[in-house]
């Protein structure tokens, strides 16, 4: 066991730290700074911030140098996310799908021509991507995608509906998972299309979520004509490719996320010190003190899990058992932390918006925490995967193809 950092890792950390301290928006993190709240404000803000990152080569640092990345090592990626989180820098928003999902998938499975065409504009922020995966009847059962791409010789005709599609109404391109063969087993008839969102027959409609914001969209495809050259890789290989995409959803950002949750917990501790219940600050109230300390312990353990996971990936090229339970662990940890936060204020938890404790950040945080246990493989799907793949328990009801389901 050795948790020390190499000199080159330390140097890289210093470089990121210096860049972020010099480049954060003026006033960022101070009470006077008006953080963007509505989706439109966030898009405008992140376009500017992410362009700044891109200009200095801090977007897609994990991409190989030949495609414009830095070819950053796994440790460097981890350090990058840690330092951005430590500075409470805005997270990648508008360009997340492009750099972390679409880009790596095209890199892995696209033709050379496709790589030349699509990859550079992602890093330069000229083109924004969205991910057309989930459908009303293909959530946990993703292979059940029904959006149809009918082969008409030199083009496809696409019909169907996608849901939970972030950025669809501002995106230039869509990484679309659709059905190209209806005669075979459901996971064998899927293909990936790279779809120009300006084509006729595409109608993105914002979906207002429980927080009142509209970050997601439903996207309707009606007789949308998609040229054949937009097919990614080979026909009917979509399920295999989708696993590449999903495998990039998590990874080196894990410890960075832990630091961001720690920032949230710090805010919560501060709220607990300044809120009085039964005549004492909540931070000294025995019932709450135990819960707050418990939240602190759980958050520390997320870091330890991350350290084991990184070690396993560096040593063996894959996560160990701790990796397979990591998502289940931290997603429920976040849920509990946000529940606790909402309870700190007692009756004040009944308010929202400007009058609420923390101007509504806890009310919003509580609702947003459900995203963690539902998105990217719900907890129930995680438990199926863990019990069958890690513990080797027998399959009961068929829920996904054994060999090809998304990896945890």
């Amino acid at each position: 066991m050795d948790l020390s950092q190499s000199p080159s890792e330390q140097a890289f950390r210093a470089e990121v730290r210096e860049w972020v301290s010099k480049n954060l928006p003026d006033g960022w993190g101070t009470p006077a700074f008006k953080e963007p709240r509505s989706f439109e404000e966030r898009v405008a803000f992140s376009k500017e911030w992410e362009a700044k990152l891109a200009k200095d080569g801090w977007v897609g640092i994990h991409w190989p140098k030949e495609y414009g990345g830095r070819g950053a090592t796994y440790m460097e990626q981890i350090i990058f996310h840690e330092e951005m989180a430590r500075a409470r820098a805005p997270q990648l928003f508008i360009n997340f799908v492009g750099t972390n999902l679409a880009g790596p998938t095209i890199m892995a499975h696209g033709t050379e021509e496709q790589k030349q065409r699509y990859l550079p504009p992602i890093l330069s922020m000229e083109e924004v991507w969205c991910q057309g995966f989930s459908e009303p009847n293909a959530g946990s059962d993703l292979a059940n995608v029904q959006t149809r791409a009918e082969d008409r010789g030199d083009h496809f005709v696409v019909n169907g509906q996608k849901i939970w599609t972030s950025f669809a109404h501002v995106a230039d391109w869509c990484l679309l998972l659709c059905r190209t063969d209806t005669t075979v087993a459901k996971h064998k008839g899927l293909s990936y299309l790279l779809v120009d969102m300006k084509l006729p027959g595409i109608d993105p409609r914002p979906l207002k979520q429980v927080t009142g914001d509209a970050e997601f969209n439903e996207v309707f495809f009606t007789d949308c004509v998609v040229p054949k050259e937009y097919l990614l890789g080979e026909m009917n290989m979509g399920w295999t490719y989708a696993n590449t995409t999903l495998s990039h959803e998590r990874g080196p950002a894990f410890l960075g996320h832990q630091i961001r949750f720690r920032n949230v917990l710090r805010d919560l501790f501060e709220a607990a010190r300044s809120t009085v219940r039964d005549g004492v600050p909540v931070s000294e109230h025995p019932a709450f003190r135990q819960k707050l300390a418990g939240a602190y312990a759980e958050l520390e353990i997320m870091r330890y899990i991350g350290l084991r996971n990184i070690t396993s990936i560096l040593k063996h090229g894959r996560p160990g058992t701790e990796g397979s339970v990591a998502k289940l662990y931290w997603s429920h940890m976040v849920r509990r932390m946000q529940e606790l936060a909402l309870s700190v204020g007692g009756p004040a938890g009944a308010l929202d918006g400007e009058d609420a404790m923390g101007r509504g950040q806890w009310q919003r945080g509580y609702l947003m925490s459900f995203a963690q246990t539902i998105a990217a493989g719900s907890s129930e799907i995680q438990k199926n995967i863990i019990s069958e793949r890690v513990l080797g328990m027998p399959r009961g009801e068929t829920w996904a193809p054994r060999e090809k389901a998304a990896k945890p």
Binding site: L3, S283, E300, I305, T311, V325, M393, G396
Partner: protein
Amino acid sequence: MDFDFSPEQYTLRDEARRFLEAQCPTTHVREFIDDPTGWSSALWKQMADLGWMGLPFPEDVGGLGQSFLDLVLLLGELGRAVAPVPFLSSVAQAGQVVLRHGSDEQRKRWLPGIASGERIATLAVAEAAGSYDDDGIACRFEGGRLTGEKRYVLDAPIADLFVVAARDGDDGARWFVVEDGADVKAQKSYDLTRPIGLVTFDGVPASPLEAAGLDPGLRIATAALTAEMVGTASKILDLSVSYAKEREQFGRPIGSFQAIKHKCAEMLTDLESSRSAAFYACWAVATDAEDAPLAVAVAKSYCSDALARLGGEGVQVHGGIAFTWEHDMHLFLKRIKTAEALFGDAAEHRERIAQLAGL
């Protein structure tokens, strides 16, 4: 970045598992469960022949010159086997306290016996106050003699060396070694696999260990306990998963029902998060990391809750069979529930976290 054990440490783990499966099956453990002072001296002798007791001690006191980190996986295996031997108390707790707090001369006096297994040492910390904090210690040292009553002392009925937390004048608590004169009353332990006792010191000769304070010694002892707990819990999960695969109801294995599978997945999550916490705490105390006080409080508070929960779910997965004396599950469950309570329960360690985190 390397937060993992070495190939040699894994090899020792594998050897230990093979050895304990052969020499310490639960049929052997059960030979001692009706006697509150029972323990396997035969197994202890075999372990001494393998050199296990000498592992974490320097060569000049008869040890093998390895570190506390070399004990972590071994403790897990002993916990997995609920081995009825005083390895945790003598080697991983009392021996480590003497190693870290004792002077050169004190180490040379007491460690060779511990490292060879000829001598059995144990820590005596908790008292009537029921806490492992400095505040909970009333035992006094005056004029070279120690007076007080210690409770929940693991392996007390078989120990011949007591390392005792007590106070000298108005200073904080520190460690004292008592060789003779302890009055030990064996008590019935909830954990059937190792003895426990009430120890009274009535003005007996004692020697203060050189380094003042209870830490790092107490922290190391607590981290060692979490490492052992993880091993016991891993056995509970393994038993539960194998049973769920074999036991059929409604014409199929109960392990094919999501109600059972999901429970097992949650148990694995509790196990792996606890294991991460225990390993980190052990690393932190072994290397004197800055966050060692926090890491130990995190590990013990979390393991106490999560692994006791895991133990309860293990019984539930088995159903009625685990409610019988004949089935082994209760041996493991009681070990976990006892460990949950000792060396600071979850609430005590969470209060420590609250203080360390500045609440």
